[in-house]
Symmetry: D2
Subunit: 404 residues, 4 copies
């Protein structure tokens, strides 16, 4: 079996919490046993609690891409006009599913180091009153950028459109929740900021969305891609539409317990602190964040430009081979241009920012680049010791809530 490096700071999959892995070794129980069904309902209830949603969420039996595809296939029908917001590789990719299932897809695209401007969304909705669905990636992980989800959600609600949000790599690491952000189908993962393993998607679906999906004749039924099949899965005595991934439920349950016991606000703080310290260190190393401004940089990943004259893979490999630090390469458009340091789950540990910055400074020097690791570590430590960076993280939602 492969052995994880000492410092796995990837953007997902991430190191799972020990308690999660431990839970996955518990004996599994037949899914038809009433005790499992009760356990299933308990886990769904904890997801609801974590999502702060009025409606019961759905858990699909595969990692986040399953949920994202299922959301598109279920909500988007052939008569829909979809506004697909594109600020990165993942947002762009979602357009393919929107086109596959929808009638027309309009794309509002910004450079991949920027965030969608809510004002532009407002204009697009004015232009095309027939837009019925907005698809948006909250944290476009290949870029490490956040979009103003709650503002977009509010605009959509006012317009009467539905919102599908990819919150896969932000949920659990910051203050983002479906109801508060007016998101109708909210796709999250067990394997990112919650620190569980990949294998389950968590999907918040509100009542409006359920009604719409039921009315969509093309929504998958009797399919692994179906949301509808799971609508009543929490009701006692019903067989599950497909066999749940039992061990992944054990792990998810442990992850939710950790999240709720530590306290969501504290978990977000941990992510925010780690990110802020990392960015202070990156700046001190003379490295530029990929996101155009730090205000749009996600607290769960720090994406920075690889300096001129250095190859991304050489830097990645030096970090790993010399220092035991594993970070992610870019992806799609950002491939070759950036490296990405994840701050997710157990990786969102403030001092790990310092560890990563020290290794990065040393690796750059080793590859002939400039970079003063000591100064950068000082900057990261100063950030850690400074006031809480929470404001940055909460802004977006807070404004939206105020406007509500």
């Amino acid at each position: 079996m492969p052995v994880a490096p000492p410092f796995m700071l990837t953007t997902g999959p991430v190191t799972a919490y020990p308690a999660v892995l431990n839970a996955m070794a518990r004996p599994v129980l037949y899914d038809g046993h009433p005790a499992f069904q009760q356990f299933y309902r308990d886990v769904v209830g904890k997801v609801r609690q974590a999502m702060r949603s009025a409606a019961l969420p759905v858990i699909l039996q595969g990692d986040a891409l399953l949920g994202l595809e299922a959301a598109a296939a279920s909500l988007i029908g052939r008569r829909d006009v979809v506004l697909n917001l594109v600020s990165g590789v993942y947002g762009k990719g979602y357009g393919n599913w929107a086109r596959r299932h929808g009638g027309e897809v309009i794309e509002l695209e910004v450079p991949y180091d920027e965030a969608i401007d809510a004002e532009a969304v407002r204009r697009a909705l004015l232009d095309r009153p027939d837009i019925t669905i907005i698809a948006v990636c909250h944290h476009d992980t290949p870029s490490g950028t956040l979009n103003p989800l709650a503002e977009i959600g509010l605009l959509a609600r006012e317009h009467g459109a539905f919102v599908i949000a990819d919150a896969v790599s932000s949920f659990g690491g910051m203050d983002v929740h479906p109801d508060a952000a007016h998101v109708d189908v909210f796709v999250a993962s067990a394997a990112k900021c919650l620190g569980a393993t990949p294998g389950l998607t968590l999907i918040g679906i509100n009542d409006r969305a359920w009604a719409r999906i039921k009315a969509n004749p093309d929504a998958p039924r009797v399919s692994f891609l179906s949301l509808l099949d799971w609508e009543l899965a929490s009701e006692p005595g019903r067989p599950f539409p497909v066999t749940p991934s039992l061990a992944e439920f054990h792990g998810l349950d442990a992850a939710l317990d950790l999240y709720l016991a530590e306290g969501p606000e504290k978990v977000w703080q941990r992510h925010a602190r780690t990110a802020a310290a990392t960015r202070a260190g990156l700046a001190a190393l003379g490295l530029r964040l990929w996101p155009k401004s730090e205000a749009i940089a996600a607290p769960s990943a720090s994406v920075f430009r690889v300096p001129d004259g250095i190859e991304d893979k050489a830097l990645r490999d030096t970090l790993l081979d010399r220092y035991g630090v594993l970070v992610s390469l870019g992806r799609g458009f950002t491939a070759g241009k950036v490296l990405r340091i994840g701050h997710m789950g157990p990786g969102a540990e403030p001092l790990l920012a310092v560890t990563a910055i020290a290794a990065l400074g040393a690796a750059l020097r080793r590859l002939g680049a400039k970079g003063d690791a000591g100064v950068a570590v000082d900057a990261a430590l100063a950030s850690l010791d400074g006031p809480s960076p929470a404001a940055v993280v909460h802004d977006v939602s807070r404004e939206a809530v105020h406007a509500d």
Copy 2:
């Protein structure tokens, strides 16, 4: 977390081997790390070894239903004429997917306590030379019956048709493999006779099938349901189309190691012995197997009719609450009519047949039915101590091989 009963003898999901659960607690490694990619290739290689197939199999990131649906969606195109063989609930259900993706679906149906007759398949193929695909469920678990897969495979090959086989609850528990049975798309599970947890489908696909799938414009691409996306996933340096379920791979790897180390033939023997002893006991209890003849009863499940005057759930609950033995209810057409004792993975332990029969005898008596547990246990023990029941299990394939 729910606690498993002392004796979990279900038809799947089943008790996982301790070594499998243990492996699932191992730290997970980023899927982009070369060490994980090598591990992935190793696991795929072990699946190939276990499947005794020439081509590399595909592992999909969800339990068996994902693989079954993906097989239908990938291989069956709108011009195909599909012969769907129906001898039970699962076979019947497959017709829905065949109709969804195919042009025409012809069903050859037998009563759900019988097996498909190879001669009838031959006639069906003569009748309709335009049949391009045969779909067959090898072990229709709700009935506990086996179909003559290798014979059907041979007829299909002679006819020029493709075969999709659901070997989910037979593979790993008996001598059934894709190439030997001339099956083109062979769908198996980690969670049944291999004794791992639900979360992965193992799919044997031969070269003919790959060519056909590639030629099918409707085969899913860029989808959780896609087989094509995974065709080259074993090649070094390629990103995975979706994030693999890392922990499930750890578990599957351990399950394959156990299977190959114990020796497939010995594992099948264990399944066959447990089944034979259970059936000897059932007969001595005066219970009738659901399958019309024992020759078509699968070695991985013993399905018996609940005697008149007893309610299936009452018997199931008595077994569980009084004796700690959990068995499966019937499903669909067999629901209410039968109980099903699984012999899969660690449950395929010969003495467990005796345990189950003793509990069943006592439970029947408690519910006012006849049944001499002592006599039944004697019968089960006599079976255990008798000659190997292997012949029963191999017959079907062996004939086909001889005919080859």
Copy 3:
């Protein structure tokens, strides 16, 4: 790593509960960390709760023999006259330690298939008013016999003598507790009826015993054998005298949680039912219990005479190799004469009695002996389905309590 057989019905070490093994995989924490010290106190508190004792117990960092030796070395001084009660191999062995540390040792010995007679103890105390300490093995595991601990305790208390009791293989499997039985030093194990792994001894010590030990100049101090070193270990801020076996504490904690959550009375019932059913089966097989009467047979082990003409190891090996059932051989005086079926922890599962009896019947037949497995299974099942055998188990203590 060695693989456990499917049915491990030994008299200790026994199969550990899955939740115990799972807990042992939790990351360990430095013993000097306040959180570990709090955890340590919590575990000691749970042991006290399980022991129903007024004083805090001590946990020694080694399996039961450490505790037994430490008890002798600590309580018994060179001026003590020890009455060592011998009804089996373990009681006999304790005399060696009594002689090593004490002034004079008087032995009251009965045949090893009998129990100590409380009346004889009364007479011995009358004979020798200078007896200061009584050592007694509650469940002499090589014989599977119980001694009337509470009656002896009461006699000792009236006499003014101290009692050291070996309750290693009875505590947790029946109603036996130090205060109720007037035992001053009560030695129990994590690895028998509590279903944890060997590595810790649990020792109940009352205030009288602490005073006595402190007054004993020969009691070990600054030693792995010391009880005194641990007297104040539960006080906050104290370093531990030796490093605690951290992982074993995790396992013990889980075992105590299981014990207290299931409910001690229910756990004892489970042990008693399994024992009673096993004995009904043994009798029906024509096998004789080693204990002269079933009234003195412990609920945690069924020890039976190997029939004439059969070699103990041959029978043991047949059970293991043919049926996957592992039982214990005799030990010392009972070696070669008996086999021992443990009913401890997860092995105290009533239907396992039936499993074991069936295998035993079949194994005997295979070795040419008589024995009708079916009839024996019927007898075991009739026992399981009969009224609760609890009376048998509680008698001894209850009488003593009444007399109190």
Copy 4:
């Protein structure tokens, strides 16, 4: 259950390797089962391989203090004249056991920040030709200092004396082995540099020592403290003198596999590199090592003086509460004067030196002390990137070997 801090850099017990904890969750097997006995022999064989010893080592069922006490009790008889070498708290403590079991104890003591001078040992042996046993602590952990074990061993061998060495916190982290160092009884631990959990002592005993122990009438027999009881424990078919701590054996086995697979030399390098980088950082922070010269500082712990005006516990708590780094306080004479950073097992990860130094620099600043974390991190990184510090670690043994 208590939760370990993110960075546990204690001097033992230490973070266990994940593979070790994982192994401890494996089902346990009755110790009387031949498969366990074979496994036991395999583990003893791996300990021998790791110890590079000619004779089979003994594994005692308790953490290191058990082994140290057992060694004193077994080897030291009432006619022995013991030269106890004292360079720290642990060496001093050993004198108590030497006095308990021996005839006369001569102590050669140096200040606790110095190492024993081999020349002084030579003189002591000349002075007192009747010295029969030398007791020496190789790495006196409260001081973090190494004694020249191989030189002392050679002098003892020439003199005809026996050597008992406490290699508990050095073995597995550097090049120290009983035969090469002429040590007769060599006490090591599973829980320090090997990265397993506390619960077993590993004791190398050569043939001379066995002969001596057998000739010692006071050597413990039939005791938890006995070495003799275990002499033949590796012979097939023998019952173990006490029940082995089964789960700890699983963990130790995994730890030995890791050690031998990574390669002892590489493991020592990892320890040496981490120590050297830590010390470079400490120096740059203006902190003084407790050991008088770095040449005598052990590679498995960096012990430094807490600067004037700072309280040791305040610094420890700041490191833990603010940065998640747990280090050890001093002990005995060094308590209140030093903090100790462990580099053992998984904690011997070079980049962790940087992490620790950064946190330490920040914590000092927070407590009002001077200290430039950035400069210190640069120094630690420069050390990591410099040539191998191996020479430092091997010197002592190498000289002795040359002299041989």
